[in-house]
C-alpha cells in the first residue's frame, strides 16, 4: 500500500470535485432507500440469529460436559467456536454499531449490548466506531492500520523492529481479543505520557474485570461443572477462544490490508466533503467473495466496503446493496477490491511479510518526492 496522494497515478485523478459529490449523492440515495425499508423482516432476521447463536452455545456447552469422550470434545469445540464467532461478528460488532437501534428493543441496542470479548463495549465503540470508522485508512490516525505494532504501508518509516512483524501479527491473531483490549486502552499513548493516569487506571480496571469474568466462566466454572471432563472442557474452551481470535483477526486483515486497498495521508481529511468521505471508504476497504455461510461467519464483513459506506445499516442488507454499490464503482472507474478468502488473506499476509523489510523499487519513489512523512504508527 502507498497513500493515494503519493502514487504516481492517483486512482481518483479522473474524478472532478463535481463527480465526487454526485457519487456521494448516489450513495446517499441507496442509504435512504434501505433506511426507508427497514422493518419486520430485518427484525426477524437479527432475532433469529441471536436465538440460533444462543442455542448453539447452550448445546455445545452441554455436549462439553462429557468432553472426556473425544467425539463430544470435537463437536462441542466446533459448536462453541461457531457460537463465539457469531456472537462477536454478526451480533456483537453489528449491534454495537447501532445497526439495530431503530428497533428500540433495549435488549438489542448499541447502548446496552455487552459482548464476549476482553474489551468492554464502551471502549471498543470509541476506538472502533469513532476512530477507525471515521479515520478509515488515514495514516497516523487510523490505528487499525497495523495496530501500532506493524508496518503495513510503504509510507510508514521502516525500523528493525518491523523485521519481527510476521511473528507479532501471528501472536496478535492468537490473542486477538486481548490485543484489541490493549489497543482500546491506547497503551501507546500511555507510554508517551499523553493520557490521563486516573482515566487509564479506571479503564484498565474495567478490562481486567471483564477478563476475570470471562476466564472464570470458560476456564473455571464450566470445567468444574464437567466433573471428570474438567480438563478436556477447559481445553475445548481455550480452543474455541483461539479459533474465534484467529478467525476474527483474519477477517479484519482481509478488510483493510489486501492488495488494491488504498491508504490516505492526513492532509486528505482536511475539509473532507461527504462525497470525499464516501470515496475514502470505497477505496479503503476490501470484500471477501463467498457463500452465505462465509457472509454469516464474517458478520457480513465480507461486505467490508458496504459496511464502511454504511456502518449503521443492518448487516443483512449489505449483500442486497452490494450490486448497486459495485455498479457505482464501475461507472465512476474505481477499483472494487474483492476476492476469495484465501486470496485476500494471502495478499494481506504478503504485505505483512513484504513490509517487514525496507522499501524497494516503487516504494522509494514516494520517499524521494520530499512530501512530509506521516507519523509512524505507534511502536508499542
Amino acid at each position: 500500500m502507498t497513500a493515494i496522494q503519493r502514487q504516481a497515478v492517483s486512482p481518483v485523478a479522473h474524478l472532478s470535485a463535481e463527480d465526487i459529490e454526485a457519487l456521494g449523492r448516489e450513495l446517499d440515495a441507496i442509504r435512504e432507500q434501505i433506511i426507508g425499508s427497514r422493518g419486520e423482516r430485518d427484525a426477524k432476521y437479527i432475532r433469529k440469529v441471536i436465538e440460533t447463536q444462543r442455542r448453539i452455545e447452550l448445546a455445545s456447552r452441554a455436549v462439553l460436559l462429557v468432553s472426556l469422550f473425544p467425539p463430544a470434545w470435537l463437536a462441542g469445540t466446533v459448536g462453541l467456536s461457531i457460537a463465539k464467532i457469531l456472537e462477536n461478528m454478526e451480533i456483537g460488532h453489528n449491534v454495537m454499531h447501532g445497526q439495530w437501534d431503530w428497533m428500540r428493543d433495549p435488549k438489542i441496542h448499541s447502548t446496552t449490548w455487552e459482548w464476549d470479548n476482553a474489551t468492554p463495549s464502551d471502549a471498543w465503540k470509541h476506538s472502533h466506531n469513532q476512530v477507525h470508522h471515521k479515520y478509515t485508512n488515514v495514516l497516523g490516525k487510523d490505528n487499525d492500520l497495523g495496530y501500532g505494532i506493524m508496518r503495513v504501508d510503504e509510507d510508514q518509516r521502516w525500523s528493525k523492529f518491523y523485521l519481527g512483524q510476521p511473528l507479532y501479527n501471528f501472536l496478535n491473531a492468537c490473542l486477538f481479543e486481548y490485543g484489541i483490549a490493549a489497543y482500546d486502552l491506547e497503551i501507546g499513548k500511555v507510554i508517551k505520557g499523553r493520557t490521563d493516569k486516573a482515566e487509564f487506571k479506571a479503564k484498565t480496571k474495567g478490562v481486567l474485570r471483564k477478563i476475570r469474568k470471562q476466564a472464570t466462566r470458560d476456564y473455571l466454572l464450566h470445567p468444574l461443572l464437567s466433573g471428570p471432563s474438567a480438563l478436556t472442557t477447559l481445553s475445548a474452551n481455550a480452543t474455541a477462544n483461539l479459533v474465534r481470535n484467529l478467525w476474527t483477526h483474519s477477517v479484519i486483515m482481509c478488510g483493510h490490508f489486501p492488495k488494491g486497498v488504498e491508504t490516505f495521508t492526513r492532509a486528505s481529511i482536511v475539509d473532507e466533503t461527504r462525497g470525499e468521505w464516501y470515496l475514502r471508504q470505497m477505496l479503503g476497504a476490501g470484500n471477501i467473495s463467498g457463500g452465505p455461510a462465509l457472509h454469516m461467519m464474517t458478520g457480513n464483513l465480507s461486505f467490508q466496503i458496504e459496511h464502511h459506506l454504511y456502518p449503521d445499516l443492518p448487516s443483512n442488507r449489505y449483500q442486497e446493496i452490494a450490486p448497486k454499490v459495485q455498479e457505482i464503482f464501475s461507472r465512476y472507474g474505481l477499483n472494487y477490491v474483492t476476492g476469495s478468502f484465501p486470496k485476500q488473506l494471502g495478499s494481506a499476509w504478503a504485505t505483512v511479510f513484504r513490509l517487514a523489510l525496507p522499501n524497494r523499487g516503487d516504494g522509494k519513489v514516494a520517499r524521494i518526492t520530499g512530501e512530509p512523512q506521516p507519523e509512524p504508527a505507534l511502536a508499542a
Binding site: 447452550l58 428500540r104 446496552t112
Partner: protein, 383 residues
C-alpha cells in the same frame, strides 16, 4: 386510542433497566438467602456477558424475572374496528384494579412501540387480564393490535397503574359518561363493581348503535341489573351536548361522576361541573394531548448515549431522540402515563400543550415527560 389519564405519577419502569436484576431461575428454594445469593452469582458468571434470563427467554419468555411480558391468549372482535385482547401476564405481574391502565409494548414493523390501554375486567381466576383496543385512523399500534394480533404472540407489559377506579367506599349514586373507546375503563369498573353500586347511570356516546363497544353486554346488564343505560348514537341523536345531561340525568349533581372520552367532551364536562360548583365529584380520564405550541428548539444532548441532535421547537424530545437512535423510554405518547419521564440535567423545555417552560440548572434532575416537551434551548438529558 382507548385510554387513560390521571395526573398521578407512577413509578416508572424504564425499559433499559432490564439488564440489572437477576435472580437465577434455578435457585434452590429451600436454601437460605446466602445460598440463594451464591447460586445467583454462579448463574450470572456462567452466563456472562449475558444474564441467565437471556437464555431462559429461549424456552420460556414469560418466566423472565427481568422483563414483564404477556402472551396473547385470545383475540375477540368487539366491533368492526375494536377487539379485546385476553393476555396472560408472565412472572412478576402484580394485580390490578379494574379501570387501571397498563403499558403494552408491541413490535410493529420491527419497531418496539409502547402504548397505554385500560384494563376492562377485574382480576380473573385464570390470571389473565383484558384490554380492548379500538383502531384509530393512522394509529400504528392500535391498528396492529386490532388486525394483526394472534393468540400465542408475546407482548411486553408493564404493571397496572392509575386511579380511574371505583373507590373502596362506593358512592350512593354514580354516573358514568363515556364516548367511543372511553367506555373501556368504565366497563372494567362495571364488571368489577356494578353489583355493589345501588344506583348507577351510564351515558355512552358512539357514532352508531353498531359502534358501541360492549353494546350487547351493556344492554343485557341494563335489563338484568340495576344499570340505567342511556345510549346516544350520533347518527340518530346528533352529538351529545353536555347541557343535555341535565335533562337526561336530572339528579346529576348528586352523583359521583366518571368521564372518559375525547378532549372536547372532557373540557365541556369540566366546565359544566365547575359552573355547578361540583367539580370535586368529577373524575376524568384524558387521552389526547391538548394544543400544540411551537417553541424555539435547540441542541439536545443525550449524555449517556453520547448523542446530540438539533431539535426544533415543535418536535417532542421523545421523537427527536428516537430519530437519532437514543433508547428512549416511552408510553402513551400523549402526556399521560409518565412512561417517558427522564431527568433534565440542564436546559429548558417547553410543554407543547400549555406552552409552559421548565428550566433545569446545571446538575438538576428535573423530571420531564419527553413526549409532550420540546427543546426551548440547549438541553442536557440523562439517557
Amino acid at each position: 386510542m382507548p385510554l387513560v389519564l390521571r395526573k398521578t405519577l407512577s413509578p416508572r419502569k424504564c425499559d433499559a433497566q432490564v439488564v440489572a436484576i437477576l435472580d437465577s431461575p434455578r435457585t434452590p428454594q429451600s436454601g437460605g438467602p446466602s445460598l440463594k445469593a451464591a447460586a445467583t452469582r454462579v448463574a450470572r458468571l456462567l452466563a456472562t456477558p449475558l444474564v441467565p434470563s437471556d437464555y431462559l427467554d429461549l424456552f420460556s419468555p414469560l418466566q423472565s424475572p427481568a422483563q414483564l411480558r404477556a402472551r396473547i391468549v385470545e383475540v375477540r372482535p368487539e366491533t368492526r374496528d375494536a377487539a379485546t385482547l385476553v393476555l396472560k401476564p408472565g412472572r412478576g405481574w402484580r394485580d390490578h384494579v379494574a379501570g387501571q391502565y397498563v403499558r403494552i409494548g408491541v413490535d410493529v414493523d420491527g419497531v418496539r412501540q409502547w402504548r397505554a390501554y385500560s384494563t376492562t375486567e377485574p382480576p380473573r381466576a385464570d390470571g389473565c387480564i383484558t384490554v380492548t383496543v379500538k383502531a384509530i385512523a393512522d394509529g400504528v399500534v392500535s391498528n396492529h393490535l386490532v388486525r394483526r394480533s394472534r393468540p400465542g404472540q408475546i407482548l411486553q407489559l408493564d404493571q397496572a397503574t392509575g386511579d380511574f377506579v371505583l373507590p373502596q367506599q362506593r358512592p350512593a349514586k354514580a354516573l358514568f359518561l363515556t364516548a367511543g373507546s372511553g367506555i373501556t375503563p368504565v366497563m372494567g369498573m362495571l364488571r368489577d363493581g356494578l353489583d355493589s353500586l345501588d344506583d348507577a347511570v351510564l351515558v355512552h356516546c358512539a357514532p352508531t348503535r353498531d359502534d358501541v363497544i360492549f353494546g350487547g353486554e351493556l344492554r343485557r346488564l341494563a335489563e338484568t341489573s340495576g344499570l340505567q343505560l342511556i345510549e346516544r348514537h350520533d347518527d340518530i341523536h346528533g352529538m351529545l351536548q353536555v347541557e343535555q345531561l341535565d335533562q337526561l340525568v336530572p339528579d346529576l349533581a348528586e352523583r359521583e361522576t366518571w368521564v372518559c372520552g375525547p378532549t372536547g367532551m372532557l373540557d365541556a364536562a369540566e366546565a359544566h361541573w365547575s359552573a355547578k360548583g361540583i367539580i370535586d365529584r368529577l373524575h376524568t380520564e384524558r387521552f389526547r394531548p391538548l394544543v400544540v405550541v411551537a417553541g424555539e428548539g435547540g441542541t439536545v444532548n443525550f449524555g449517556t448515549s453520547n448523542i446530540s441532535v438539533e431539535a426544533d421547537g415543535a418536535t417532542p424530545i421523545l421523537t427527536a431522540g428516537e430519530a437519532a437512535g437514543v433508547l428512549m423510554p416511552s408510553g402513551c405518547r400523549m402526556g399521560i402515563c409518565m412512561g417517558c419521564v427522564v431527568p433534565l440535567r440542564e436546559g429548558v423545555v417547553r410543554d407543547l400543550r400549555t406552552g409552559d417552560l421548565t428550566t433545569a440548572a446545571e446538575g438538576d434532575g428535573v423530571k420531564i415527560q419527553t413526549c409532550i416537551n420540546a427543546a426551548a434551548g440547549a438541553c442536557h438529558i440523562d439517557l
